[in-house]
Chain length 167, copies 2
């Protein structure tokens, strides 16, 4: 993490000069954010996987598909929505195909493209998993926060998204 190690006055190319180290308050804020984010994601993923056999990554794919007209999306569009690389998504869809939850279909408008289509079995699996996931998010996130904190969380997230966000 942000160790306060002193460094020789030699300039690394991209980050020249002595960096502005984090002060004690920033340290504390950063660690609290990092630890809580890691623990929360880990917890949600574990509970979902354990109760339903669906990892959070797979869950996001199923959700993204279920929210579209026709329950289908181009592979790259799906990858973008899931914050996933093309390659990663391709592998993941292959594994979902093996489970019978998604199938591939050649895209009519663009011969290069593929459509990932959510099957009825896939939708049923999602329906079964959704209450578990919502339960976890409530228990470990919303039930722990005041309305003001929820508001702050949204504000924080949206501010960061404006900087990091999809282009």
């Amino acid at each position: 993490m942000t160790a306060r190690v002193s460094v020789a006055p030699q300039d690394p190319v991209e980050f020249p000069g002595e960096p502005r180290w984090l002060d004690a308050d920033e340290q504390r804020a950063w660690r609290a954010w990092l630890y809580s984010a890691q623990l929360l994601m880990d917890r949600l993923d574990r509970e979902l996987t354990h109760e339903t056999g669906i990892s959070h990554a797979y869950y996001e794919i199923l959700v993204a598909l279920s929210e579209t007209e026709g329950r289908m999306l181009r592979m790259s569009e799906l990858a973008d929505r899931c914050l996933s690389s093309r390659s990663r998504l391709s592998h993941a869809v292959s594994r979902l195909e093996e489970r019978g939850w998604v199938r591939r279909q050649i895209c009519p408008e663009d011969g290069r493209g593929q459509l990932a289509v959510l099957t009825d079995e896939g939708f049923a699996a999602l329906e079964a998993a959704a209450p578990v996931h919502v339960g976890s998010v409530r228990a470990h996130l919303f039930d722990q926060l005041s309305p003001g904190q929820v508001e702050a969380m949204r504000d924080l997230g949206e501010t960061l998204l404006r900087h990091l966000g999809p282009r």
Copy 2:
């Protein structure tokens, strides 16, 4: 159904009946948090790995060791501080050992235990990486936020940690 082996000393969550679904505001807050957290972590890890060849996971191990008296820790203590499983840490330390940055040492007080010790080379690698990491955290996090937002971030993180947190 599932055996539900609870690893953490925490109540397993029950998911009875119809869940309390997220309303539109909660949805929005949740997605903003989730996406921003994923993007930020991904960004920090990528920049660090790209500039220094050290992944964020390895960086955390080096930092944890560097902050202790004697720059050494028991394997399990190190795993806890890095939010890592024992197995994962054991693998990671093996790879850090191959790089010459950490070495294992039998624990004098407990024959079962191992100490992970940060070498001088490891400390030097950390010194070189630290400015890069701090630069990323500043650029993508603190430079984007107002003082009030930083305060809110700390509050949020600490509130969640009280619920999820270690022991």
